[in-house]
Structure formats: structure tokens, C-alpha cells
Symmetry: C2
Subunit: 146 residues, 2 copies
DNA sequence: TGATAATACTTGACATATCAACTATTGACA
DNA sequence: TGTCAATAGTTGATATGTCAAGTATTATCA
């Protein structure tokens, strides 16, 4: 192995990082007026998809797009805003079940359209087939290499 | 516009975010034993490329892979570790010129190989031509869409 | 030339992230 | 059944990120 990765490797890696930064910044800007961070929004979406039962804390952490060690306090903030409710499980008292509140659902409903528009806008330069190719190539990348 | 983006759009967007998170976590893990964050490492690389003159603070910020409002304190930390030196410009006393120190260069030299190996490992599942395709598709994405 | 605006940071206040203990509870097994 | 390990989450200390406001300096232009 030489001490430098080849140009196409560098370009791919840099491209991933830059594109993600763009997405995150736009997402943060969109959510900021609603008092949500990108991660908080992702938790809410996960919990909307997990109705009506909800999920326990660490399962939410597993499903996050970005690995999130601070999941407890992240959900603390959502609970403080009344967007999530937590109840300690009776079957296994170590677990805490989290559910999205009606207020959380209403907030998400308001966000669906602008978030979808943002997603579309960011990859608008790519035709559908190219978006599919991109997704397929990235899927290979995050199949956690050894 | 419907209230939901199509599956290929979602897959592309999610793929970007997940792949970037993987890269960032691996990078952070690699750099941690050396006492550097990913962003600090990026500043050092930018300054290595800007020898011998160095760069003023905001120019470094512009060249960062990720947009970084806290550039001043980021460089504060590098200066505290003696990896960067700062001097106020004489031509324009508002500007501060930053240069990498020999110690900073030595640290980078130790990191070049493992970082290159990491980059290669992360996209190892893709043949060269696919890495090029991936880079080309991502380049379209971060051509800052309106 | 003097007032105003623009630039290049810097700083303070605050939010969030990260790591390493720590507690409570459950499972596994001698 | 009692002990030890594993699980699920919480908490404290600390580092880092973010935004808005502040300072110093330079450019613009009446």
C-alpha cells in the first residue's frame, strides 16, 4: 500500500462528506424555525413509524441515521417539548418505552412536505436512474467494511 | 409536489448521510489516539497544502470539507498543541496568518498512511470505475442547488 | 478628510456531543 | 437459590459546536 489513496478514492470519500454536510446544513436550517435538530427530527420519524407501541430507548438509537451515544438526553429534550412520552416497561423494568405524542405527530405532519421538497431539491440534478445508481453505490459503502 | 419524496430519492439521501456517518466515525476513531478531531486534522492538511505562506483564518474556513463556524477556537486548540502558529498580518492587521509547525507536519506524516488505508477500506467494495461514478454523481449533488 | 460601511476575526453564552462511570434489573448457571 | 455477568439506561465531567454580539482595522465615498 502506498502512502496516498488514488484520486478516484479521494474524490469519492470527499464527495460523500461534502454532500452529507450540505444535506445536514440544509436540514438544520429547515428544522431550526420549528425548534428541532436533525437528530430530534429523526427520532420523531422513527417513533411515528413505530406506532402505536413505540420503541425502547436503545432500539431508537440503533435505528438512527447517525450513531448517537447521547440518545437519553436527546429524548429528554423531546420529552421536555411534549413531543415524546416515556414510560418504564413493566415486563422488563430496565427498559423505557418511548412514544410520539399527538403534538409530535402534528409537528411532523407540518414538516413532511418541506422535508420531502428538500430531499428532492438536493438530488434534483440527478435523473431518477442516477439517483438509484447513487443509492446502490452508497449501499455498498455502508455495508460496514471490516 | 406530493408530500413524500420517491423511494429512490429517499434512498440516495439516506445513503449519503449513512455513508458519511460511517466515514466520520471511522476517521474519528483513527485520529483519537493522536489527540485530533476530524476537523482539526482537516485544518492541518489544508495548512500543509498551503506552505510555506500559510493561510488566513477565514480562508481555512472556506476550504474545510464541513462548514465550520467555530474556526477560531478550532485553531486555538491546534495552536495550544503547538501544531499551528498564528501571526497577525502586517499588511492587513485584521487578518491572522496561520501556518503549520514542523511538529504539525510530523504528526501528519505519521497519519498519512493510516488515513489513506481507511479511505481505501471504506470504498473497497467498489471497483475503480464505480468509485469514479460515485464521485461524479456526488459532484452533481454538492454543486449547491438553489 | 471624516463618517459610514464592510471585513476579519474574537468572545461570551449557551446547546449539544462524548466518554467513562454508575444504578437498576434481568439472565445464566453452578 | 445465590452469585456473577450482561443488559438498559442514566448521570457527571468535559470537550466541542453554534449563534449573536463585540472589537479592531480597512475600504468607500460624500
Amino acid at each position: 500500500m502506498t502512502a496516498d489513496s488514488p484520486p478516484h478514492t479521494k474524490a469519492a470519500v470527499l464527495g460523500i462528506l461534502r454532500a452529507a454536510d450540505l444535506l445536514r446544513r440544509r436540514g438544520a436550517a429547515l428544522l431550526e424555525p420549528y425548534g428541532l435538530t436533525v437528530q430530534q427530527f429523526n427520532v420523531l420519524r422513527i417513533l411515528r413509524g413505530a406506532r402505536p407501541d413505540g420503541l425502547c430507548t436503545l432500539t431508537i438509537a440503533e435505528r438512527m441515521v447517525e450513531q448517537t451515544p447521547g440518545i437519553t438526553r436527546l429524548i429528554d429534550r423531546l420529552e421536555a417539548k411534549q413531543l415524546v412520552r416515556r414510560v418504564r416497561s413493566e415486563e422488563d423494568r430496565r427498559q423505557v418505552w418511548c412514544r410520539i405524542t399527538p403534538e409530535g405527530l402534528r409537528l411532523l405532519a407540518r414538516l413532511d412536505q418541506p422535508v420531502a421538497d428538500l430531499d428532492r431539491a438536493v438530488v434534483a440534478g440527478l435523473a431518477r436512474a442516477d439517483q438509484e445508481r447513487l443509492a446502490a453505490l452508497l449501499a455498498v459503502v455502508h455495508r460496514e467494511p471490516a
